[in-house]
Amino acid sequence: MKIHQPRAAIIVPAYNEAQKIGQVLAKLLELDFPVVVVDDGSPDETSAAASQYPVHLLRHACNLGQGAALQTGFDFALRRLKPACLVTFDADGQHEVADIPRLIEALNSGGYDVVLGSRFLPGGSAPHMRTRRRLMLKLAVLFTRLSTGLPITDTHNGLRALTAEAAGKIRITQNRMAHASEILAQIADLQLRWCEVPVTIVYSSYATQKGQSLLESVNILWDIVSGKMK
């Protein structure tokens, strides 16, 4: 039995992305890294669409949340594929595949444990981003700076690269959208070496529908606070 140890494995959590996931996977496969799709209990044909491509496909029996899907992807990839690093990538077409090699390059050449994508750094971009979204993201940045001390410019960007070791140390317990803040908090607690790299976020009318509402932001805040009270 050949033990395959790829340079990177791409983790793609997906929920109700039957429309978009085919395009996303087709582009990702051009990089020639193994791709792990975690279907988070989608009621639509997400799994059927993904199974058309030579990717690893996992399915949650019920919808748990993007955080849970990521952790499932991590566990599978680290255990079965043993890659040198993991890349998290959204299934809705907001991320650019072309940004992935730069994240991996930064991870390797800079000796970092985690490389985070940022749309707000010079060189990054987020065309057509709504003002309300920008405001909420900026508030999230402020909150993260206050609670973790980390001067991160884009705290809710699903595009990240982590070394296998760093991914193994991180344990995502927040199933839903508070997982992004939880990852950052763990980076701070574990004192992982991190950096940010400019990336492009593509907003389409499709993606904007799926963005977080103000109500969801309140829920995220509550999840974080109650998580800390355990």
Partner: protein, 121 residues
């Protein structure tokens, strides 16, 4: 003592509730607490002025206010307990769904789904 119809109804309700929960909760401590609460409830229904005496002693105006405060605090603890239980359940469901997802991973492709080869060592 002159027994009012309302008292009969309340005591009846407490007894029914008591028996029902007695069958559901088998833990001895639960049953003891339940028995004491039901007994306390029946006593207060028969002698409602007790609440007034106790309330006045600790600086509350009415007996009903005392019962209300007691109920509020009891409820807050109960809700906190349920919230903790729910969180625990969610954690367990996540672990189960994750294990199931990893065990049943497949590989997609032109030939259709194939199971992922099992773990090596």
């Amino acid at each position: 003592m002159n027994i009012e119809p309302s008292q009969i109804l309340l005591i009846g309700a407490l007894l029914v509730f008591g028996f029902y929960v007695f069958r559901v909760r088998t833990l001895l401590t639960d049953r003891i607490i339940l028995f004491l609460l039901s007994l306390g409830g029946i006593v207060l229904v028969l002698y409602p002025n007790l609440t007034m005496t106790v309330a006045n002693k600790i600086g509350i105006g009415r007996g009903t206010d005392l019962l209300l405060y007691f109920f509020i605090i009891f409820s807050l603890f109960a809700f906190a307990g349920y919230a903790a239980q729910i969180k625990n359940l969610e954690r367990k469901i996540t672990l189960l769904a994750r294990q199931d997802a990893i065990r049943n991973a497949v590989q997609g492709g032109v030939e259709g789904e194939k199971p992922t080869p099992g773990e090596e060592g």
